[in-house]
């Protein structure tokens, strides 16, 4: 059976200074700071890719052979600042159908439709989201 965790590409872990900077940058852009359990994930790998599943970290990563730049979380969210849906929320990742969004007010992780932002599922902790996506 295919398991997404078998192909999860990781990066170097984030440093405390980088994390502090990014939390400040998120606040300055009127976004929610990253929750603790997502920061624990970044402490193991500063972002991650598995197939179409992407989780963003504090730094962008340039893939020389594939001619693309994997974005960092602040620059990625800046594309959606015009959408009022992101009030008190931050997009932490995406796949080919949905966004993965942290709702700072309800303290939950949401899976939202990528076309309409309509929430589809909610998870209390990041581990539950990873289990659902089969990358844990």
């Amino acid at each position: 059976m295919f398991r997404a965790k078998d192909c999860f590409k990781t990066f170097d872990p984030v440093s405390k200074e980088q994390l502090k900077l990014i939390q400040g940058a998120l606040k300055n852009n009127r976004l929610i700071p990253l929750p603790e359990d997502y920061c624990d994930f970044l402490n193991e790998s500063n972002g991650g890719i598995c197939g179409d599943i992407e989780f963003y970290g504090t730094a962008e990563h340039f893939f020389k052979k594939r001619f693309f730049t994997f974005p960092d979380i602040v620059n990625y969210n800046k594309r959606y600042l015009d959408d009022s849906f992101l009030f008190n929320r931050v997009i932490i990742g995406q796949d080919s159908q949905v966004f993965f969004i942290y709702d700072g007010q309800k303290k939950t992780y949401l899976i939202c439709d990528r076309i309409s932002f309509i929430p589809i599922k909610a998870f209390r902790i990041f581990e539950d989201l990873k289990k659902y996506l089969m990358i844990d």
């Binding site: 295919f2 997404a4 192909c7 590409k9 890719i49 197939g51 179409d52 992407e54 893939f63 020389k64 052979k65 594939r66 001619f67 693309f68 730049t69 994997f70 974005p71 594309r79 959408d83 009022s84 849906f85 009030f87 796949d95 080919s96 159908q97 949905v98 899976i111 939202c112 439709d113 990528r114 076309i115 309409s116 932002f117 309509i118 929430p119 589809i120 599922k121 659902y132 996506l133 089969m134």
Partner: protein
């Protein structure tokens, strides 16, 4: 010109950077988003990629999008390399089915981002035209959505005349270099 007309949205698609992307309309079949569960999706994608990896025409398209030999091997094993997505051409809540005929292999950054932005913009305009000011629970979905009308399995932007972000009508040098290297069969 009505904001919901085909010509308007064809122009919007061109403005966003995909001027020759053919479009068709799809009728809404569900009010709530229809989501393909991860286990089903991964099984479908695994089979779809194996089909693409061993098809001659699809292989030529994979070279055209600058995929390396390692990337093609991954595809033949049913795995997605980085920066590639398999999306449903017609969204599942607009009559699209969760099967291989409705699937498209396409580069995540920037093309999947552009396509979803295009579809989201239609929802946003419809949402605003219905008098809704807040989108805290998402956008209202229009009864009709313009979606890509492609019958290929792999999206090849250069063949469709994709322009560079500067809009000067030429593909950027990196894309050109990648395409020419890939077509020679060399690794980058």
């Amino acid at each position: 010109m009505s904001t919901l007309s085909f010509a308007f949205w064809q122009n919007e698609m061109a403005r966003m950077g995909l001027p020759e992307m053919p479009l068709k309309d799809a009728q809404k079949t569900s009010e709530n988003p229809v989501f393909c569960e991860p286990s089903t999706y991964h099984t479908l994608v695994h089979a779809f990629l194996k089909k693409v990896g061993f098809d001659h025409k699809d292989m030529q398209d994979l070279w055209r999008i600058s995929l390396t030999r390692e990337g093609i091997i991954q595809i033949r094993e049913g795995k997605l390399p980085e920066n590639l997505d398999v999306i449903f051409k017609v969204p599942l809540d607009y009559g699209g089915e969760a099967n291989m005929e409705n699937m498209l292999l396409i580069q995540t950054h920037p093309f999947v981002d552009i396509l979803f932005k295009f579809m989201r913009e239609q929802c946003k305009r419809y949402h605003q035209s219905e008098g809704e000011k807040s989108a805290l629970y998402g956008y209202k979905k229009p009864p009709k959505l313009f979606v890509p009308d492609l019958n290929r399995r792999v999206f090849v932007p250069a063949m469709l005349g994709w322009t560079s972000p500067a809009g000067n009508g030429a593909t950027d040098r990196m894309t050109q270099a990648g395409i020419s290297i890939a077509s020679e069969g060399r690794d980058v």
